[in-house]
């Protein structure tokens, strides 16, 4: 049996007396699409920050494939294929989309260390960046500065940046957050189009996305994992309903039966 | 009979109290809004010049000028906050540094224009220029009063911070500004009041500093460096941190000048760099 793509054991974190994560145990087999849901303040983004190394855990271990990465700095984890996107766009406002993604590609290939040759001398990196953008339908606007893009396009650029690093495990933090309805089609297509080699964990409040893409759902409340299961099991679970889901999910559930 | 080192320690403590009064406002406002206000030194200088003007030109007794120094600095800081500073809270570090340094430059030039570049003489009443001798060490009365006054103010600040509602709001805003807003605390108003208080204290410190270190237009710059050292070493937003750092800095400076004068300010800078490298957020910093 091959090692899971990502696993955490006993992960815990507190800020003084405020416990934001306690005994988190998650296992992501290779190539799955899992969703992480929970009410606001449940600690979902904190968990992402712990996994990616932006926060140091008070206790617990994190495993990528077989390796214990708990002590690795964030950029090393990215190099090994553990990549995240941000809930609130964290982009490079004055760089064009093409420059942003080219930057990510150059960092990956270590071309970014060379200061003695011009960027043009790296056509492969530029082409790769363009291809990623084109696959996300951002080709025509790639030369525009990031801050001039529409919000939905910026969300897609977030994903493009992540893809440029050739992730093995991709953590999407509310990819659909703030995206207006008429721009979300491309976003859904982008997520659907993610290669099956990539293991995906996404935090979402948008239940449509969860039911459409996730094969398994993890529910977090108050810094702990409450329960895990298939989307239908979770929707039907009375505990989860009481804490979080309510009417929206049951409607979506009925919708997905018929449509 | 106590060895002379106690005299040095006492003088250092007095100097440290002075630095504390001048720096505490900067520390709290930096901790609350991350606003790098280099013009803080100008408010201290203003307090000094208000005292000098009132005493030398209008014969106001020294202790009566102190509240005036406080109020003048506080009021002017409110004006500056409204006109300039409010617009750059979200600006880059560099912009904040540049704007506030520009204000320091302007204030130095204005002071030189009005008062000239010479040090201001201050004629304190005789009892303030005397000293008490205790166990072989001479304690200047002025410095005793300074230490006493500073301790009273420190205690008031500490109690106010811990037990009043306003103090709780300040603590919340320093700890986590966004969450404080979310809890319904009017952070902007809290900040404005804190800013005025801090600048007023700086003005008071500047007034008290005249007798100890002298006053001339370059005061705003010279003591700005010390204030920055106190704040960055003590920790942003921490009153106790500023207190500790100010005392350490005051004693180091006085002791250094007394025992190893050829090193000059070298020691202070080295201490600051070392402490910052060990604890970049300051000894007791939160951000």
């Amino acid at each position: 049996m091959s090692a899971p793509a990502l696993a955490t054991r006993g992960l815990a974190k507190n800020f003084g007396s405020l416990v934001v994560a306690s005994d988190i145990e998650i296992t992501l087999p290779r190539g799955v699409r899992y969703a992480l849901i929970g009410p606001n303040g449940a600690g979902k983004t904190t968990l992402i920050n712990l996994i990616t190394g932006m926060l140091q855990p008070a206790a617990g271990r994190i495993f990528l494939d077989d390796a214990d990465i708990t002590a690795l700095p964030p950029e090393q984890r990215v190099r090994r294929g553990l990549v995240r996107t941000y809930q609130v766009n964290s982009l490079f406002p004055h760089l064009s989309a093409l420059e942003s993604v080219t930057l990510a590609v150059c960092e990956r290939t270590r071309a970014a260390r060379t200061w003695w040759r011009q960027l043009n001398a790296y056509p492969h990196q530029i082409d790769e960046a363009y291809d990623i953008l084109a696959a996300l339908k951002l080709g025509p606007v790639c030369q525009r500065a990031t801050r001039e893009l529409a919000y939905g396009q910026q969300r897609l650029l977030e994903i493009a940046l992540a893809l440029a690093t050739r992730p093995k495990v991709l953590l999407l933090d509310e990819p659909a957050a703030g995206v207006p309805r008429d721009e979300s089609k491309e976003l859904f297509a982008a997520i659907a189009g993610l290669s099956s080699d990539i293991t995906v964990l996404f935090i979402e409040h948008d239940m449509e996305l969860v039911f459409r893409f996730a094969t398994r759902v993890i529910v977090m409340v108050g810094g702990r994992v409450l329960i895990e299961g298939s989307p239908h099991e979770i929707a039907a679970d009375p505990q989860v309903r009481a804490v979080y889901l309510g009417k929206t999910a049951t409607t979506a559930l009925q919708g997905s039966h018929h449509g | 009979m106590l060895p002379p080192v106690f005299g040095v320690l006492f003088d250092g403590l007095a100097y440290g109290m002075l630095l504390f009064l001048m720096s505490v406002g900067l520390s709290v406002t930096l901790g609350m809004m991350n606003f790098i206000n280099l013009a803080h030194g100008s408010f201290a200088m203003l307090g000094g010049y208000v005292t000098v003007a009132l005493m030398n030109r209008y014969g106001v007794p020294f202790f009566a000028t102190l509240p005036c120094a406080f109020v003048a600095a506080a009021v002017l800081s409110v004006a500056f906050e409204r006109v300039f500073f409010r617009r750059i809270y979200r600006a880059t570090d560099l912009d904040q540094v540049l704007l506030t340094i520009g204000i320091v430059f302007i204030s130095v030039a204005v002071a030189a224009y009005i008062f000239g570049t010479e040090q201001e003489p201050l004629r304190l009443p005789a009892y303030l220029r005397s000293s008490l001798t205790f166990m072989g060490i001479r304690f200047a009365v002025y410095r005793l009063i300074l230490v006493g006054l500073a301790l009273v103010i420190t205690l008031t600040l500490a109690v106010g911070l811990e037990y009043t509602r306003f103090g709780a709001q300040v603590r919340a805003a320093v700890d986590n500004e966004r969450m404080a807003r979310g809890l319904g605390i009017d952070v902007d108003r809290t900040f404005a009041i804190t800013f005025a208080l801090g600048s007023g204290l700086a003005g008071l410190g500047g007034a008290l500093a005249i007798e100890i270190v002298g006053l001339d237009p370059s005061f705003a710059f010279t003591y700005l460096v010390y204030m920055l050292i106190v704040v960055s070493v003590g920790g942003l937003g921490s009153i106790s941190g500023s207190f500790a750092a100010a005392v350490v800095l005051g004693i180091s400076d006085v002791a250094g000048k007394y025992y190893v004068p050829q090193l000059g300010a070298f020691l202070i800078y080295l201490v600051m760099i070392t402490l910052l490298m060990w604890r970049p957020l300051g000894l007791l910093g939160r951000r």
């Binding site: 700095p73 950029e75 990215v78 941000y86 964290s90 490079f92 406002p93 004055h94 760089l95 093409l98 420059e99 942003s100 080219t102 930057l103 990510a104 150059c106 960092e107 071309a111 970014a112 260390r113 060379t114 200061w115 003695w116 040759r117 960027l119 043009n120 530029i126 080709g139 030369q143 940046l161 | 930096l30 991350n34 300039f84 750059i88 600006a91 570090d93 560099l94 912009d95 540094v97 540049l98 704007l99 340094i101 520009g102 204000i103 430059f105 302007i106 204030s107 130095v108 030039a109 224009y113 570049t117 237009p217 704040v231 960055s232 300010a265 800078y269 910052l276 490298m277 970049p280 957020l281």
Partner: protein
């Protein structure tokens, strides 16, 4: 590749960013004007060239990587004193003197970069300030080496390339300073347009995001800080060699602050900002040299407030905004 109308292929687009613009060519040709129009001001022109080079080195770390340094004059001073001391010891060959100065400044820059790269915001500003002040105190204390308040005496610069001796009118000095500036400018230009240059802009634009795309930000910062230190050192060395004096104010806080003002005035992060700012500032200072220092600082203060409130990207930024407004119908 499917492209919509009106856009060029990505590679051509990126290449177009690096093309020499007509205004640039005009600028560099104009630097030769002093020979024709202001032959009596060539020594001022040399000093402007030195300041421009110094400002350029600061732009690399401040404008492109976002490191606010209030102590950059430390490297300028190290370069100046190194070149001066080497000359005093008997080796006055200018070009090799430059290299030695660059090496000295670069080594110190490299060492301090390990500290610098670990800090941000106020701690970083204070550390750069502290290092600068520390070095100033050190230079003052080591009077036997640096000449203290009197400055370094006995510097004698040999003929440039074995042929051109430095004349009283400063013709050779200006040519020398200008040539050094131009060569290093080309170097900086190449660096900015390299993948590394793109990383620096990434660091400036969004520091937090960089590790999330696998970028070793600290290593990048160390590299650019070292390079910037070396270039500042060269600027100091040129000053020492052309004026044959070095004094304490070459590494003082005033000089560090002045260079920040020049860069911000011209516009940081635009490669030419430091050059433009240096020209404006130094000419203004020369014109108003009769003014008492306090009043000079009064106007600098007004300038700083005005720049931050109304012209946040400096003169070049303001010009860029104007030209985009004009080019749009």
């Amino acid at each position: 590749m499917a492209l919509s109308e009106g856009t060029v292929s990505p590679q051509l687009y990126l290449r177009a960013q690096t093309r020499w613009r007509p205004a640039e060519i005009v600028f560099w040709l104009a630097t030769l004007l002093p020979y024709l129009l202001f032959p009596n001001y060539l020594s001022l022109a040399s000093q402007i060239a030195v300041a421009a080079l110094f400002a350029l080195s600061l732009d690399l770390i401040l404008g492109y990587a976002g490191i606010v340094s209030l102590g950059h004059a430390a490297f300028f001073g190290i370069g100046a004193y190194t070149a001066g001391l080497v000359s005093k010891q008997g080796w006055g060959e200018p070009l090799s003197g430059l290299l030695i100065a660059a090496l000295a400044a670069g080594v110190v820059g490299y060492a301090t970069s390990f500290v610098i790269c670990r800090f941000r915001h106020l701690a970083l500003i204070m550390l750069t300030l502290g290092f600068g002040l520390l070095l100033e105190e050190l230079a003052n204390t080591l009077g036997w080496l640096t000449g203290g308040m009197d400055g370094l005496q006995g510097i004698h610069t040999w003929k440039l390339l074995g042929y051109f001796s430095y004349d009283l009118y400063g013709r050779v000095a200006y040519a020398y300073a200008l040539a050094v500036l131009f060569v290093l400018f080309l170097f900086a230009r190449q660096l900015i347009h390299s993948p590394f240059g793109l990383s620096l802009r990434g660091i400036r634009e969004n520091f937090v995001r960089m590790p999330a795309i696998g970028a070793p930000s600290r290593a990048h910062i160390r590299t650019i800080y070292t390079i910037a230190a070396g270039i500042a050192g060269i600027a100091g060395a040129v000053l020492a060699q052309t004026t044959e004096t070095v004094s304490l104010d070459s590494l003082g806080f005033e000089r560090s602050a002045e260079i920040v003002v020049m860069l911000v005035l011209g516009g940081a992060g635009r490669l030419y900002g430091g050059l433009v700012g240096a020209i404006i500032y130094m000419i203004a200072r020369d014109q108003f040299s009769g003014i008492v220092p306090q009043y000079w600082y009064f106007w600098i203060g007004i300038l700083l407030v005005a720049v931050v409130m109304f012209l946040p990207n400096g003169v070049l930024g303001g010009l860029a905004k104007l030209t985009t407004r004009w080019s749009r119908p």
